[in-house]
Symmetry: C2
Subunit: 440 residues, 2 copies
């Protein structure tokens, strides 16, 4: 019998999960600080709700089956289609509608290193308005997430579908070749200008002079977003769609400056984002010190998608956080350490007679907000200390016969290996100084 | 085309979900305060892992299908079997092992009012030790959960499998009739002594004189647990299993007294808990003012179950929270109100020219920890205020031309309908006084 985790799936054991959970809690707090409440939708939907929404390939990756009532059902593939379904079904929802959803999705993909068939998506969306305020709010939230996670060195790179449309037209393309062209533009950073030239050359109808103009436009270096907007106005302002996009980005720039996050947002006409459903602003987030992991947080405006079931256009803009990437990044940037321990202190069992004293001390510690583990059975002190060491608990308290008589405890700092006999109140102060868990 | 939620499933819209999420966050904080980290296991398991574990009926209720690789898979039915699988599969896990898991499970049951095919289970377990300390820790955690949720009037009713075994023997039964007898004992509260007498009379081998002795024992009123233990010692102390159970409960009593939670724990020999896998302490939690909703939090020691895949006995004790019941209870007890609003304040848009001022004010408010919604598009002030009212946001800030010049804001209290022109700093103080979100 196979006693193992299903192929392509994985368990998150407590050590890792504790860190991941705290990361997600921080993210949720940011969403809630911006007035976004959570939404929860079922893992299963009628298959027809999910089919034909995310492309043919997506349909093949669905976990689809017949339930006990012979209904054709499937496990959700993303969080966007269920959101669209919710908005069509619940007439009581009023616009503008904000929500976030953090939940697993399932895709029967070929497993690869770091890719699993179940993974957590984390989406925040604002539905019902197409405005510079809504656009700016997403950038403000994105920067607030980075800030709350302790990431200081990052750039949100921002572009607009209108700029991308103008670039396509500059290259001689109408809607036919756009997708292929934008996909290559998205890879320009990686493949370089020469490979880009040769690969776009194969798109039917491409204008090679136009391609050079596109390269001039997207490869320009402008650190200052206002300068970049001015440059884009000069280069693409003749194109109506581009002019409207530039005016919108100019307005967004006002608002992110007022919000104090403009330094982290950089307009970059080379950001294409592969997905064809974007209709306005698009953005991705690159960490300065580890750009190679790619965007940790991206999204854009997609006015055509969310209204698909409601039968009307519902403008929408959102951000999707790459939870696994972000988690790896935090690990690499050493921003997880403070929250990896299962508790701030472990109280040992000295003897059966003194066990109640340990319980009493644990209650006092917890009442003061100190996360406290109690060694749950009789064992030699050495074994108990080893357990604390392995679990990564920074402090251990022992209450022996002498300490119990004197009204003191032995406080041991596991890192330093130092032990001192002090009052419980003093011990609490020392633990709190080291483990300020809430305020960190 | 069916644009609707799957039959037997439901959406949790933001208003309700926000409250539910905050309840679960509170619960998680309690678990973590006691040194319990989270575990996450996949939604899908190999069917053979889940089959034949929870009874024939459970097997029929599995969402079971063949995946794209023709594997026989099923969605998890509970959180206990996956825990057992994890403990067998991950050799690196050391004992004692603590974890909590809060996650949906799926059962293809006949839907009924308040019963859905997807529901969230919330389990906390301590594996690897069979000790009074572990038993007491569970009661301590249970009481800490109630306390953190603001529930003051409740009783954890505690019993022990050894007492129940002795009662069965008193009624003339050996293992054969035990399950039926204990199931009826569990219902004694509801059906009364007469119906109990008549229904147990049908169990083969039952001794009617013994049944009277059982009734005398379980119907006795003893508010004080020590007195109850003494009474049980007199009534059942001749039975070895009962004597051991009484000794264990006596020890647990020491420890919960030391932890300051003994007042909320009441030994009650009539608590049977239906599940046959319990091997030691069992408990359930009744809210004094709404006992009719049943136990909101229950569990016990089940030493035979968790080791099923590991091939060895792994003692374990746990609590399962009835999330939906608990949520209804909090609603009924009026303990949810404080956290139903999506934000503490909404900042309006007065005019396009002053929008940046609104963004700046919102950034200042959020930096101070005030959850702030910004109305995301141009609209008449009246419409914006209506939105805030409907969303349940208690304060609204408007920055008009005069206020912008004077460096002030209009702060409107939606409940009172009062509006005043004050500085942003003063407004923040007023909002904080009303909406102390974190410390509540």
């Amino acid at each position: 019998m196979k006693v193992q985790c299903l192929k392509g799936f994985r368990d998150y054991l407590p050590g890792e999960m504790l860190q991941k959970d705290r990361m997600l809690q921080t993210v949720q707090q940011v969403f809630q600080q911006h007035g976004y409440p959570p939404l929860m939708t079922p893992a299963l939907e009628y298959s027809e709700v999910l089919l034909n929404k995310s492309g043919e390939e997506a349909d093949l990756l669905l976990y689809r089956f017949r339930d006990n009532g012979d209904r054709d059902v499937a496990m959700r593939y993303d969080l966007t289609v269920p959101l669209a379904r919710v908005l069509a079904e619940h007439g009581e929802i009023t616009m503008p509608f904000r929500r976030y959803q953090i939940a697993p999705v399932w895709r029967a993909e070929k497993p690869a290193r770091g890719r699993f068939r179940e993974f957590v998506q984390c989406d925040v969306d604002l539905v019902g308005v197409d405005s510079a305020a809504a656009d700016a709010e997403m950038l403000v939230i994105g920067c607030a997430v980075m800030d709350a996670l302790g990431i200081e060195q990052y750039q949100m790179r921002v572009n607009h579908r209108g700029i991308l449309g103008a670039l396509c037209r500059l290259a001689g393309l109408e809607s036919a070749g756009e997708v292929a062209f934008l996909r290559l533009l998205d890879k320009l950073d990686k493949i370089g200008a020469d490979a880009f030239r040769s690969e776009v050359g194969e798109i039917p109808g491409i204008d090679s002079d136009g391609v050079e103009k596109v390269l001039e436009t997207v490869l320009i270096e402008r650190d200052d977003s206002r300068q970049m907007l001015q440059f884009l106005q000069e280069a693409l302002g003749h194109d109506d769609e581009a002019a409207a996009a530039i005016a919108r980005m100019d307005r967004v720039q006002d608002l992110i400056e007022a919000s104090g996050v403009a330094d982290h947002c950089q307009i970059d006409p080379s950001i294409a984002r592969g997905l064809s459903y974007y209709t306005g602003l698009v953005y991705e987030t690159i960490l300065d010190s580890i750009p190679e992991i790619g965007s940790v947080m991206s999204g854009g405006r997609y006015d055509g998608l969310i209204g698909m079931f409601a039968g009307k256009e519902l403008p929408a803009i959102g951000i999707s956080l790459g939870i696994d990437r972000l988690f790896s990044a935090l690990k690499e940037l050493d921003l997880l350490d403070a929250c990896s321990q299962p508790a701030d202190v472990m109280v040992c069992q000295f003897s059966p007679e003194l066990l109640a004293a340990s319980f009493e001390a644990a209650a006092t510690l917890r009442a003061a907000g100190i996360a406290t583990l109690l060694y749950p059975t009789e064992a030699k002190l050495k074994k108990q200390l080893q357990f604390a060491q392995r679990a990564g608990v920074p402090f251990v308290i022992v209450i022996g016969v002498d300490e119990h008589k004197a009204g003191t405890v032995q406080l041991r700092s596991m890192d330093e290996g130092l032990q001192e006999e002090i009052s419980l109140a003093e011990a609490m102060k020392k633990i709190e100084q080291t483990c300020r868990r809430d305020g960190q």
